[in-house]
Symmetry: C2
Subunit: 147 residues, 2 copies
DNA sequence: TCATTTTTGAAATTGAATTTCAATTTCATT
DNA sequence: AATGAAATTGAAATTCAATTTCAAAAATGA
């Protein structure tokens, strides 16, 4: 369970472990995929209606700072959070109709990116690559709707 | 000159050609790179102090709709606009220290992306790829500052 | 328990994006 | 050149997510 790791990190930083933080972390870890703050908030509220939006916001920032969450900004502008799954970087395939997000990884592309950076004498810290389109399900739906 | 093409498109859409729109387009086309709305606005104001922020905003949206401008959202959250240079898609290398943006293109990566999409049965409309890091100039500066 | 420090949460603030609306401008038609 | 319908302008207002403020509440260590 990650909760203990979390508490340990919290103490090390001179911060305090609270009911709210534990509840938010727990909810967040059980939520799959890339969730917006309001999505996370509405889930947290179900578990404890007393927890405020601000606290969820601050806790997600804290988790990001501690490396337990990763922030993502896609083209729609809303910030999304995802539990950090250790060591695996990945990119995204996003359906513009239904919002589905598929993760993928491609070592060849990563290598080519390193080459490009080197050629321009850049030192890369991170990157993002997103492919926007339509998933098969939505394409089928549209085809039917058009009849 | 693109101005005439612009007027033609304007009329075709049932819209009207105005002093403001011409001035904004003109300023925008002479501005290189990826500019934020406020950067474009402050440049437009130099040419004509009477032109309002809202008009610049709406004109950039219009240009985007007409395909003369391309909207970009990088990780800093601010929307940037770039004149559409026909036919050439490109990706970006961004310096996190000085904000410099370098454009690049890599056909091999593009091909690999198409392969990934196909494997997931996605139909891709567009994509974005951004490499964030530090350019050579800033790396040198920092090295000196550390002494 | 007490004292200190952090956290909480409602409300306020920020800042960019977008909308509103009355006044103005464009342009096709006289 | 004058007219009028339709579009445009620009200042101000609004929206909306992100972020900050601050007094009250909770957590930790002595």
């Amino acid at each position: 369970m990650k909760l203990n790791q979390f508490k340990a990190r919290i103490y090390k930083e001179g911060l305090k472990s609270t009911r709210q933080r534990e509840e938010i972390l727990n909810t967040f870890l059980n939520l799959s995929g890339h969730k917006s703050l309001s999505q996370i908030f509405s889930q947290v509220v179900k578990a404890d209606p007393k927890i405020g939006y601000t606290t969820v916001y601050r806790t997600l920032r804290l988790l990001t700072r501690l490396g337990l969450a990763t922030q993502r900004k896609f083209a729609d502008g809303e910030t999304r959070y995802e539990p950090t799954s250790e060591g695996t970087h990945h990119d995204h395939l996003i359906c513009l109709d239904c919002g589905k997000i598929i993760e993928f990884e491609d070592q060849t592309i990563e290598a080519l990116q390193r080459g490009i950076a080197q050629r321009h004498r850049f030192k890369i810290f991170h990157h993002r690559m997103e492919l926007y389109g339509q998933c098969e399900t939505c394409r089928r739906k549209k085809r039917i709707a058009h009849r």
